[in-house]
Symmetry: D2
Subunit: 295 residues, 4 copies
């Protein structure tokens, strides 16, 4: 989908503006309608804030209706292919479209328990999550009070809206929705950046599975040309960077034991802030390494 | 089996001496017979060296017969339970008794290729190996010349004999057959050894499986009370030490993100010398860690 | 002076016991007299505790007299050579016998201010201090209340007594009066302990001077054969370990720039607990190093 | 002096061009004259290369005259204030204008020995050196053959010319004459860059003196706003970065011993390539630190 241009939206007929932004909030075009008269918006952030303001200024009934307009996570509607395109794509991002039957049943039970307790569906900004972190959030939030939980649901809806706006509308500014996982490799045996190191990023699940995310090769500055994850939220979860240092040092002609003391070096860390920058470097010799959360 | 005492063996009737040591070399009591007249032995090492001398001094035919007296690795005799007790236990140590059908077929093919090329079975001191390292040795040794390979087979037989002697005979000295994997954890956030860290040692296979080896908890000196592997050869292979640092820092009352940046820290390294000491420490804060091959 | 033996003291005539221990407390043989009837002492610690008990059980006047029996630090009596042998040796340990005129005048002023405020001389266990830490203690303690300061003076007197007892009496147990500075060097370029590294320990003063303390050469385990300081309190102060890593790596045949990136590596740290063990290792390549308070 | 503009020089009368560049080579305007007909120069580098070409293309006599046109280092002419302005400023940069009498005598002896051996003065691009590195170069080069030494002298003259050109002529390109010393501080206790750390750069001499070079304070990215040395060659020599980490951690409210284990952390390293980038970071907790040559 080609994004709309903010400048064009600022001057378009009101109906076009509403049509363009109707889907930013799930099944709730009234929010776009509520801000159309505030045009022109100086920035994407101004537009986003105005729409948030419209929700916060609406009646409690309308807010609740907005919350209830959202589908279940990994629910029957998702299985039946009845979600909005945006929701479908979001639920896929965390792998909710490829759950085992046991996981599907678990989500089903949690959805039912949540709705029985609060009277509305569990809402989370899925693009900021992995399956594991959704399940943990589910359990943590079941212990909330109803007021806390309504506030939490709105916060998540605003996060979903920010991501949808970011994709739907091009502007000079960017909403702060993207995080980053990056690395660099310093060869402290040679005293310079390590060039040509193959590095892979894997996502680990609580069940012990690992899922390949991205691969890169370090350049002469010891960095991959692009971050391993960038331009989008980094789902809350556990990750492993895996560096093939044995091949790197063998290519440098260093004499190594067979097998070398260090082969694939895994650096395992968790992401708690999807919009954070996780720079996780490797300082390495054939016999030692260190890492840290860098900047 | 209670070990024999070297002093007792030195003064026992010759037939008892030979009976006690008949199994040190597979189906070859003639080697014990060859050294009985050299008694008394001042040390276990002297006895071991004498038996090696008997083999090296024997005719080429006798040496070849010794080599041929060994069973196939993961062969039909093993499957049929027809090995000596020592061989059975040795092959179990590397998991050769629980191969998949595909692995069994692979060993079968390699055994056949090896025997076709050299005329005797492939011999390796299994207690110093994992399945992966045996398979790599198989392939590497198939490229040897016949002379090289006979020499290699004898070297492996002497290693097997040393381990059998070490178990069969108690003496004041010890043969150098044992390696070690150990660790210690230093909390560089607090500036003292980390006490109470749960650490596990896993063996990783080339196919991606991992096998639990041992678990320990660090004491007030930051060390486990015993090495994770000790008192025996460390099989050539890939290992991972896994430290539960998130629980440790949470127990210390440190405020951490959810999930914490560092949860389980894996240190992956390979062992190339089964008799080596692999001391692999962890220096750790909630945000950084380093490791090295220590001493 | 040959130390007395605790067992012999336990059975000696009372006058000999008192004569042997008369100097443990400055000009105060009454303390030895007070405990002679409690013999035999099972350990040096029991003797030490008994003498402390005698002081604590004495009248306030007697305690004050004990405090007043001590000489000024760097005072006129010291300059005139009128101190007890023990006091003379103690004051030399912190360099108080070689003060500049300015420092001497500063001590003089502080002594006068302290005596004017508290009515007794400033007492500190000099063997646990450097000149700088004495001066800081002086200033900090001038702000104390009289009660606090009398208690502090007694604590220091007990520390002095422990050190004098430790030197004067041999027994099966040792009083905990000794700290330690030690190091080891790990060559993480080669993956083994660094052998043959020359390391020096220097004491740094606030005025920028540095004083050589000890030199060692690392052995095949990467350690000096003896700690750089051991068997005595480590004076509170700032220290620098200086490792000649350029010579070490050049001797190993590593190609280095001219001058090498790392020549002499200084590790600077402070000692706050004279009875503590300060193990300060160096992990080093020609291009990187790290250190930590170890154990 | 306002630099000339390359574009203006390209179109100026030939005499003006020569006047502007007469001093790039010491007392040798013939070199500027030799390239005036090659105008216009597309870049500063093209101009520099053309002037080098003119020297290399000149007769051996002319080259020798160029070499001999240079003054002694720390020689009588310098003491008498008879040098060109460029030479005076250059010799000051390495402190040759504030030598002790002993050092002056040492330079005098070396100058005499050098001239006796080679027949021309010792030339070195002083801005790339400290006094110590000049003295070492002096001794090393005295062992050269005459041919080697003439080549070395010309190389140094070209380096001097590059630095003079860089200051005298503004253009779109820059000659590669500048190196850099920079740092950053990462607080691995807190997991983020250390803000507000005072860091000083000192130059150390072989005689034990140290000379203050620059001071900075780390910003929220853990870096100083500007490199400690930048925009000029980094003189070959020994440096120390000194970080006040005790104040930093105390300001963060961390409980520390008195005195803190780490107070001022010195990182000592040598510079061998004046045009290199020396990025020397500090990763630090109150109990540990590491450094490396970064990028």
């Amino acid at each position: 989908m080609t994004p709309h241009n903010l400048a064009a939206l600022n001057t378009a007929p009101a109906t076009d503006f509403v049509a363009a932004l109707a889907g930013i909030y799930e099944h709730s075009p009234w929010i776009a309608e509520a801000v159309v008269a505030q045009r022109p918006f100086a920035s994407l952030l101004a537009l986003h804030d105005a729409m948030i303001g419209a929700v916060r200024g609406a009646s409690a009934d309308k807010q609740l209706a907005l919350v209830k307009a959202h589908p279940d996570l990994a629910g029957k509607a998702a299985r039946a292919g009845e979600l909005t395109a945006a929701s479908t794509s979001e639920q896929m991002s965390a792998g909710l479209d490829r759950l085992s039957d046991a996981d599907y049943a678990r989500f089903h039970r949690l959805n039912d328990a949540y709705k029985a307790r609060f009277g509305f569906p569990f809402i989370v900004c899925v693009r900021r999550h992995t399956k594991d972190s959704i399940l943990r959030a589910f359990e943590r939030r079941l212990a909330h009070s109803a007021d806390e939980e309504l506030a939490t649901a709105l916060t998540e809806i605003f996060r979903i809206a920010a991501l949808r706006l970011d994709q739907a509308v091009a502007a000079d500014d960017k909403l702060k929705v993207a995080g980053r996982i990056s690395t660099h490799v310093l060869d402290t045996h040679a005293g310079h950046p390590a060039k040509g190191v193959v590095v892979e990023l894997w996502e680990l699940s609580a069940s012990g599975d690992s899922r390949f995310v991205a691969r890169g090769i370090t350049n002469s500055d010891g960095r991959t040309d692009a971050p391993l994850i960038g331009g989008r939220p980094v789902p809350i979860g556990v990750y492993e960077l895996r560096f093939d240092v044995a091949t790197y040092f063998a290519d440098r002609g260093i004499s190594l034991p067979d097998p070398p003391f260090l082969g694939i070096v895994p650096l395992r860390f968790s992401v708690a802030e999807p919009e954070g920058h996780y720079h996780v470097p490797l300082l390495v010799t054939p016999w030692s390494y260190s890492t840290y959360r860098g900047s």
